[in-house]
Symmetry: C2
Subunit: 548 residues, 2 copies
Amino acid sequence: MSQDKLRIIPLGGVGEIGKNMTLIEYGEHILVIDAGLMFPENDMFGVDIIIPDMTYLLEHRDRLRALIVTHGHEDHTGALPYLLSKLPDIPIYATRLTQGLIEVKLREHKIREAQLHTISHNDKLDLHPFQVEFFHVSHSIPDGVGLAVRTPAGLIVHSGDFKFDHSPVDGQRTDFAKLADLGREGVLLLLSDSTNAETPGYTPSEQEIVTTFEQAFIQAKGRVIVATFASNISRVQQVLDTAARYGRYVAVAGRSMINNVRMAQELGYLRVPDGMLLSVEDARYLPPEKIALVCTGSQGEPTSALVRMASRDARTIRLQPGDTVIISATPIPGNEELVNRTLNNLFRLGAAVYYDELFDVHVSGHASQEEQKLLLNLIHPKLFVPIHGEYRHLVLHAKMAEQTGVAPQNIFILECGDVLELNGDTPRVIGRVAEERVFVDGLGVGDIGEVVLEDRRILSQNGFVVLVAVIDSKTRLLLGTPQVISRGLVYNRESETLLRIMEDEVAKLVGEGGSVAAINARLREAMARLVYDTVGRRPMILSVVMEV
Amino acid sequence: MSQDKLRIIPLGGVGEIGKNMTLIEYGEHILVIDAGLMFPENDMFGVDIIIPDMTYLLEHRDRLRALIVTHGHEDHTGALPYLLSKLPDIPIYATRLTQGLIEVKLREHKIREAQLHTISHNDKLDLHPFQVEFFHVSHSIPDGVGLAVRTPAGLIVHSGDFKFDHSPVDGQRTDFAKLADLGREGVLLLLSDSTNAETPGYTPSEQEIVTTFEQAFIQAKGRVIVATFASNISRVQQVLDTAARYGRYVAVAGRSMINNVRMAQELGYLRVPDGMLLSVEDARYLPPEKIALVCTGSQGEPTSALVRMASRDARTIRLQPGDTVIISATPIPGNEELVNRTLNNLFRLGAAVYYDELFDVHVSGHASQEEQKLLLNLIHPKLFVPIHGEYRHLVLHAKMAEQTGVAPQNIFILECGDVLELNGDTPRVIGRVAEERVFVDGLGVGDIGEVVLEDRRILSQNGFVVLVAVIDSKTRLLLGTPQVISRGLVYNRESETLLRIMEDEVAKLVGEGGSVAAINARLREAMARLVYDTVGRRPMILSVVMEV
């Protein structure tokens, strides 16, 4: 029997564990699953995106066998440009649509070289010591897969993002037969999607929302505008199908959505009747009742097509009373305020609005509790590691595994970066090799951490004050008038008196002498007290005393 | 017939209209209803609270007849300290519990003088030209009222915050009989609570959550900790009742909750068995299975009792595996991320957690659609103005009014500050006398607006850079070495090279001469470009060139 060790390492996710990347390591060989990004929470100031901590991959680049991408959503593909900038040679395996979406993304990042390999559901890959098979899973995007990974230590099944949709828009069901075969063969470990572990029952089929779309199209007097995620190709198909039935042309707004739709159409993942797709510009010249529009903005993103329309800011489309808007998504936690503002603005414009509080406009792409249990029972693994969820979701999913017969001591709730070693009869966490996350801000990857964020938090609350004074290095006397400048503290017109008082105070305190460091400390303390006593705020205070 | 005009002016609320204050004006007389606050949204940086724009009240202080407070929640009482600091003599009418909560609040703000008058549901007030009657309404706090205001122009009914709870915890039902009487008498105008206009059916009774409380107390092995709003006196009563049944003592944690519970007990609004209430300190010495704890923190507020317990930060209570936590509230929009983090930390500590995704731990205090329609049909007003809701809620409530027979031209959806004049047959909005809101930050009321907030937003995203250079006023030559300081831009250790490059560049650019203004402009532009090219960020850049 081999002495090599089998290890599982979940990476990435803001609060979610193993959402963006998971490593399967056997001896000196690493298989990487997914390379996705997350968007920052409201108090992660100035962070553009968040990617997994890939230090371990870079330190062991000689061990990397391949990256397999399960489907084309951002939270599974979005870190690829960052991974490829460090590891351009890693072979990447993905299905056709997933590969198409990856190519769109790499073009946007001006990355020209990547070792992309197309796979289909029936392929078997020999990535020694891993033998990888795929099984189709239904999700809110076509062409998603889960993985069966044979290792010398046993068979591992990774669910990918999945649901059991019995009537998916793309006609591709989750592959029950292959899952049953794998279960019969004997699975050492199941890694499974925990996103909806709080949701009882079954997730409805994508088809369920067709009823709402029909109702909206039948009752619409003006244009019908559908906002959804740019990658939600299935939802775009539903708009196309409904528009075709009710004699409307379809235009697409929003850069990322235009790119994705074009690619999906080219690859044959969107069925578009000839002449049905129009540009937004052309759509302006047709009567409103002949037009449907698909666009971004379902999360109230300030620069999205829908929000610009709702704030009368759009170049080409002006919302008008009688238009119908369908927000075909639910707000991601943290986005509720932006979504609510957008909804209110749409109502102010007199639009008929279909949204999730009132209508069935969206269904989740993830398995609910009964589906999670069904997968557990099809696979009946010896070991279980819940992934793709926040800590509470993993705990709830673990309880379901226990209910379906997995022994409690064989269920492992991991944190991001934990290394679970599966050897012999006592699998255990042997250490931690990664942080929970890496912040990306502008061109910088990982160069801002808690210190910078805490500074930004203080600045966001009360702004800052800078005191500048010049002293003669010989006489120690003040030269010229000190300057006090503030931003984000008080409205400037109101603050002038305060600033003048501060300048007088600075002049006085500099006159008390001492080293530059001593003067700076004295000024900071006195100014902090003065500001707090006057306006009750605690801005950041910098003192710059220059000797010349 | 009187030539005086009747006007309705809703004020305040972040996005919500007339939530925090509503004015009824007849001729030269103003009746003020409520004086509440709102909490800021995530992008209102550094704002502590938000109060209504009371300029109109201050400009017409001679017209003020009285302030009537409908119930004791913050969004109806929280602006009182600010109102009283400007208008200390305004007579305030409120029921006993509401008055108790107001007194707690005024003590916290060190306001000693206020003209507080206690009313009961059966009182009639003559506040010429207004004759005011009250009717009891059930809500998530005892002792709430709605108003019937007789004016020479007709009878106005204001619902307050209400639901039709058929089995309220305090035994006080909404007064159907008086509502029916008013309807029979003939109501000119109904102003009614729109909060839950998106929710079909009926809001469940407060009693519904008893089942969940029972289940939690029966299964709990360790302590039972219930987090809810500090003002939710009815929920505290439910904890006391359940604890009594299962032989547990009750401790209260969180300053505001301790104050409210003490006051409600003194006034007889909480029924507490003798010796049942303990201090948190004393609770430490009893076995966990004898303890229930009520505390603040249901919204994940970082300084609340629950969050400190969940982050192992509390002085006196340490959560341990086996403890049970009930989050008896739903997240207010914008708080989801904080609530989710708290939940995950509670799960990490091994607590059994009852929360709204999984259990019936909370019911709304506001009427759902069928109750809103019931009130409309009991009152059958001639005119209808939906209040207490975001714009979309008002539109949905207006549609219900139309369904119940109010003529569409007699329904008015107002924005904050709109003046609706009701005279003769053509009521109409004649103008606007207030902004949507006033920000309070520290000691400052209304001194920060869009400019300061935009500065704080920029600072929160990318921090700032300050360049300081001293030049000789005669020779125009640089004196000493320029200094470049940044905060919130990049992690300092990484940024040193960048700062040195910038200092060299500043020295070079100062040497090119020109006026101080010209040098400052040149420096700002060059530094912005340098920073953007290096790290892809756009910090705020200040240039301070001093002539000495």
